[in-house]
Amino acid sequence: MNQPNPQHLIAGITQIASLPEIYMKIELAMNNPKSSSKYFSDILSEDIALAAKILRLANSSFFSFPGKISTVTQAITLIGTRQLRDIILASSIVGAFKDIPAELIDMKSFWRHNIACGVTCRIIAMLRRETNVEAAFVSGLLHDIGRLVLYKEKPDAMGELIEKCSKTEELLYRSERNHFGFDHALLGSLLLKEWKLPTRLIKTTACHHTPERAKEYIIETATVHVSDIISNALTSGSSGEKMIPPMSEKAWKILGLEDGNLSLIADELDKQYSVAVDFVLSESP
């Protein structure tokens, strides 16, 4: 069969899915050293719903700041502008794909898997004492975004692959490679590149099933790889994969997690998941 060109598939999706203006404004402000917390607050005040969501998140167990945070400026000062940008991306990414027809995929289930992966990445980053744990959250949140491109551009083929995998117990990402000549990880990285998102996100998405191939952001990629496995096993959402993917021993060792960390991650995932679902999907899990 004629295998599709991944760049053509990306061109199709970028016509319907784009990042919101507010993210672009925050990104621009990030690159201006004169931008103050007040300036970021002014940008956010253009989107009252988003500002309210950020205030709610700042007061949630996600951050566990001591005392009540009552203004957006205060929230931005405490959260930090880099983290703020990542949080806004997390909040707006769902809206970028709102036009994908519901009959193609259960979008809530899709995002729940990705949110769970993001939360797991965040917990692993916290355990490793990383500085920007929200960046880790977004890496997990976006890791399967290439599947949305496939569901939108190749719905019949994806439907057949999912059905075949549920009968044969094959891994969906391997079936994608056999059928299309590439998988959702490559497509996702191409889409994020097209959107000019940070290189870290492009690389972690590209190699989340093949972390041993990562040349940059090796720890970040290993974090997404292991978090994908954990979230597939411990939460109910799914981006199409029914089987638990195998793990790269190299990625596991790079993370340096200790015995007992998994049950701790599971407990934290249980606590943070509902907050993250509320923030990203604006609903209870």
Binding site: E169, I229, M243, I244, M247
Partner: protein, 101 residues
Amino acid sequence: MVLSSDVTDRGGRTILLKAGSELTEKHLKIFKTWGVVQVDVKGKDNSTPLNNIINAHPELEISARLAVKSTFKHTNLKHPFFKELSDLWVQNHIKQRAAEI
């Protein structure tokens, strides 16, 4: 809950709380600040909700143990990580099925 061993900082150099101390919410906040993610506590409670479910519906555990093998067929179940992960999967599976009864 009472500590069964001393809690130290991540480097193991500073004792934050002695064994035998009663744990409070305030202690947990301090541990979090110091990056402590796990402590040992005395005693073990066997009357967990999960054990109660398994005692009432042993068939749920049997079906979960069978299902875990196919769901994890692409993984190395002898690896300590997957051993623990598959156990957690079984526990979740049993709880979900029990909730449907």
